[in-house]
Symmetry: C2
Subunit: 264 residues, 2 copies
C-alpha cells in the first residue's frame, strides 16, 4: 500500500538530518525574500545526502557546485514555472513544497504531484524544451536552480552524475506508474490511506516525524491528485478518525495506526 505513491527511491543514507545540519538549513530558510537569487552550494547543503549529489564524493560535489549558480525564493501560491514556459533548468527543492498541475484545453486540470524538500522539479520540460505543467509553491519555498545544459555537459564528464540523473528520471517514471496503479485499481479509502502513508514515508526519509504530518495542500488538491472529490477526501479522513486510525486537526494529521492504514 505505502509504495503506490512512492515518490523517490529512498536515499541510501537515510540517516536523517540532525543538529547543526538542520540549523544551518533553517538559517538559509529564514532569509525569505521573493525572487531573490543567491549563490547556492551543494557542498555544505543540509539536503546533499538525499538531493542531486547523493552518490557523489566531495570532489565530485565540488564540480557539481560549478553548475548550480543560485537559488530562488518562491512565495506560497506563486509559480516556479508554468506549462509552456521555455525549459532551461531543473530545480532541487531546498525547502518548502510544491504541487505540479497539468491542464487540458477544456479547462479541466489535475494535480499531478506533490514535491517535498530534497526532491527535484522540472524533469517534464526536457523532452519538448517547454514545461508540461505548472509548478506552484504550497508554502514559501526555496529552490536551487540547475541549468540543464550545464548539467548535461557535466554528465558527459562524470559517470556518477550521469548515473544519478538517469536514475532520477527513471524513478519519476516509476513513481508515476505507482500513481497510475493507485488511480486505476484502488477505491477511495485505499487511495487516501496510500496517500497518507506515502507522505509519511517521505517525511521519514528526510528525518522528520512519520507519524505527525502537516498537509500543506487543500482537500481539493488532495482530491484532484487522488482522482476524487474534496468531499470524499474529507469524509474518508473523518471516517478514519472515527475508526481510530488517525487524528485529524485541519491540516495536521497524526497517524495512530500505520499497520491498519497499510492493510486497508
Amino acid at each position: 500500500m505505502s509504495d503506490y505513491l512512492h515518490q523517490e527511491a529512498p536515499p541510501a543514507t537515510s540517516t536523517a538530518l540532525h543538529g547543526e545540519q538542520v540549523l544551518q538549513f533553517l538559517q538559509v530558510d529564514t532569509v525569505p525574500r521573493a525572487s531573490t537569487a543567491r549563490k547556492a552550494s551543494c557542498s555544505n547543503c543540509a539536503m546533499r545526502a538525499i538531493c542531486m549529489g547523493g552518490n557523489l564524493n566531495d570532489a565530485e560535489r565540488n564540480r557539481l557546485d560549478t553548475v548550480i549558480h543560485n537559488w530562488r525564493m518562491i512565495r506560497r501560491g506563486e509559480a516556479l514555472y508554468r506549462a509552456g514556459d521555455a525549459f532551461q533548468s531543473i530545480y532541487a527543492l531546498r525547502s518548502g513544497s510544491f504541487k505540479t498541475v497539468v491542464a487540458h484545453q477544456n479547462g479541466c486540470e489535475q494535480v499531478s504531484g506533490f514535491f517535498l524538500t530534497g526532491e527535484t522539479l522540472g524533469l517534464d520540460g526536457i523532452c519538448t524544451e517547454r514545461h508540461a505543467c505548472d509548478a506552484i509553491a504550497l508554502e514559501d519555498s526555496a529552490v536551487c536552480v540547475i541549468p540543464f545544459h550545464l548539467l548535461e555537459a557535466l554528465c558527459r564528464e562524470m559517470r556518477s552524475l550521469q548515473q544519478h540523473v538517469h536514475r532520477m528520471l527513471s524513478s519519476e517514471i516509476v513513481r508515476e506508474s505507482g500513481v497510475m496503479l493507485l488511480l486505476a485499481s484502488l477505491n477511495a479509502d485505499q487511495r487516501v490511506a496510500a496517500f497518507l502513508l506515502n507522505i509519511s514515508a517521505r517525511q521519514k526519509a528526510r528525518g522528520y516525524s512519520h507519524r505527525e504530518l502537516t498537509l500543506r495542500m487543500t482537500r481539493e488538491e488532495i482530491g484532484s491528485y487522488l482522482g476524487m472529490k474534496l468531499e470524499t477526501v474529507s469524509r474518508t479522513l473523518s471516517r478514519f478518525q472515527r475508526d481510530g486510525l488517525i487524528c485529524v486537526k485541519g491540516k495536521r494529521v497524526i497517524l495512530q495506526d500505520l499497520d491498519a492504514l497499510d492493510r486497508i
Copy 2:
C-alpha cells in the same frame, strides 16, 4: 482529448514509411524464431526515423550501431522481462507490440502502458537496477537489445545521443502524466475515446492508417489500463458504434468520426 494518452513526442520526420522501407521492415518481421538473437543495425532499419537514432546523422548512427549488438524475438504472451529482473538493457521495439504490467503484493495488477513499433521499453529499470514491471508481448514481436551501460558510455561522448536519451526519459514522464490526468478526471466515455485517438495518432506517426485500428490487447487489458471494467469498455464501444462514431468488429475498430470522438 487525443493527447491525454500521448505516448511519445511525434517524430520530427513524420514522413512515414513507404515502399522499400516497409518491405525491408516486413522482411525482418517475417523471420520469426523464438528467442533468436541476431545482429541488429540502426543504419538500415526502417524504424530509424522514429526510434533511437531519430536526430542522429549517419556517422552518429554508425556509432550507435556499435552498442546495439542483437535483436530478440518474443512470442505472443511471453515476457521480454519481468518485475524484479536485473536491469541491463533497454529495448527498441522493432516490430509487434507489448503491454507493461505493474503488480502489487495483494495480487492486484494493472496494465501501465501499451508499446507499439518504434517505441522504447525498459526505462523503468534504470533507477533501481531492477525492472519495475512485466513487459509481455501482445503478438509475436522483435526488439533491439540496447545494453544500457554501453549506451550511457556513448552518451558521454555524443551530445546528440545524450539529448535523445534524456528526451526519451522525459517524454515517458509526460506520457504518464497524461494517463494520470485521464484516470483522475475523465469519465468512462472520455477515457475510451482518448484511448482510441491515442492509438490512432501513434499509428499515423508510423505511417499506418489512423482510421483503421487493430487492437491487439483484450477488452480486459484496455479496461485495466483505463481504470475500468472490461464490461464497461465493451458497452462503451458498442454505444460509440450505435452513435456512428466507430465501427467495431472484434479487435478491428474503424474510427468514423474522429472529430466527434475528440469532442466527447
